[in-house]
């Protein structure tokens, strides 16, 4: 009975931030029962697929990635355990990153050397994060997730501005060949990384959060490159996308061996987020709407507050 009451509270909570993914809670509210016991796997898979398409679409449109919506969708709306949820989300992150890479490479912005150098930091961080995910209580993961969501929403909704160019050139950048050029309207423009140790350290943190939360942590990766290392924004975003898949693969092995990856749950999430993000990337080329970003950021903040609240209440 306590179960049903809790779920009802959760429904009301989820309803407040409802954005069309509320089929699960509504079904439950009518029967006053745990939703997963009232629907079979086919219906459950169908709802997850549709929700994941929307998550992937919005994730691509805003640059936040599908994971930030998928985990709240699974845990808050569908009552899925946090460990299974971050497992399914991480798999979708690998699919999205790898699937989108072809489009980015064509543009000629990503830098494979800078990406590979920083992947040392992100993959080691991802190992740490994945180990933490196997040891920390789900409520702690939920609270960290909420906080990271709020920061991600903030950083992705601000206008990209050039980093402080007054920073002196880091001699390490030359030694490690962290430089390159990219096409602009006025021809090729060359660049070189600054503050390499700071960027490397932030990348370790980004990897840790990726492994702990099952997300791509693209927002933090971009921040490390375009603000800390003062790389051009376009180079930062495309190189970040390139790195996300490798980072996620480093924690996926641990997720797999610890039994976080449930095939039946991951199937609709991976296929849905992949389809949604490819669709979103196509739309993004045509329309770059700032209002969509702001609305989505507000939704993400609302989800973040829900996550934190439910974690503190011990419901996740």
């Amino acid at each position: 009975m306590a179960f049903a009451r809790d779920w009802c509270n959760l429904c009301c909570a989820a309803g407040r931030v409802s954005f069309g993914l509320g089929a699960g809670p509504r079904l439950a509210a009518e029967s006053y029962d745990w939703p997963l016991t009232t629907m079979d796997t086919t219906v459950f898979t169908g709802i997850l697929f549709v929700g994941s398409v929307v998550a992937g679409f919005l994730g691509a449109l805003t640059g936040l990635g599908g994971g930030v919506v998928v985990v709240p969708l699974l845990t808050l709306a569908m009552g899925v355990n946090m460990h299974y949820a971050i497992g399914a989300s991480l798999v979708s992150v690998i699919a999205t990153s790898s699937g989108a890479a072809a489009a980015y490479v064509r543009e000629g912005f990503s830098n494979i050397r800078i990406g590979m150098f920083l992947e040392i930091a992100t993959t080691l961080g991802a190992l740490l994060g994945a180990y933490l995910a196997t040891r920390l209580p789900t409520s702690t993961i939920g609270i960290v997730f909420g906080i990271v969501l709020i920061f991600s929403a903030y950083f992705s909704s601000r206008e990209p501005k050039a980093a402080d160019a007054g920073q002196s050139i880091d001699p390490l950048a030359h030694k490690l060949k962290l430089e390159g050029s990219y096409p602009t309207g006025q021809g090729e423009e060359s660049y070189r990384a600054r503050r390499v140790p700071l960027g490397f350290g932030m990348m370790f943190g980004a990897g840790t959060l990726s492994g702990l939360l099952g997300i791509g942590s693209g927002a933090l990766k971009v921040l490390a490159m375009d603000q800390a290392m003062a790389l051009p924004f376009k180079v930062s975003t495309t190189t970040s996308n390139f790195m996300i898949g490798v980072t996620a693969a480093a924690s996926a092995g641990i997720y797999l061996s610890r039994g976080f990856l449930d095939p039946v749950l991951a199937m609709p999430v991976m296929l849905g987020v992949l389809a949604g993000s490819l669709l979103g990337a196509k739309v993004l080329v045509r329309a770059k709407s700032r209002s969509i970003r702001i609305v989505f950021s507000l939704v993400v903040v609302a989800l973040a507050i829900e996550m934190i609240y439910n974690s503190i209440k011990g419901r996740l």
């Binding site: 899925v80 355990n81 690998i94 890479a101 150098f117 996926a252 641990i254 061996s257 095939p263 199937m267």
Partner: protein, 121 residues
Amino acid sequence: MISDKQVESWIAVLLRSGVLLAAAVVLAGGVLYLAHHGSVRPDYHTFRGEPAEMREPGLIVREAFSGRPAAIIQLGLLLLILTPVARVAFSVAAFAVERDRMYVGMTLVVLTVLLYSLLAG
């Protein structure tokens, strides 16, 4: 001499093929699974962890080839995880051809971390 541009476009083809193959296998396994077990009531509220045959790469492959739908999905997920690993392995070769020893070394570090996670994690 191979240009960075060329290497990048090969990497893109590799990634896209890996994802498409993985998605196709996952979809096939999913359709089979729903056809056989679609009316089962799912319960993901409590974390129990997957059984060994869904956790160990060798067992996943064996079960998948014996036609178990859930294992076919899991094989697709395994292919997906291996896609970035293949990309890094390819980069080792590409940097070696460019005689960039420093980056061969760095890429080997990343590859080691990935293989450690997959095989010993």
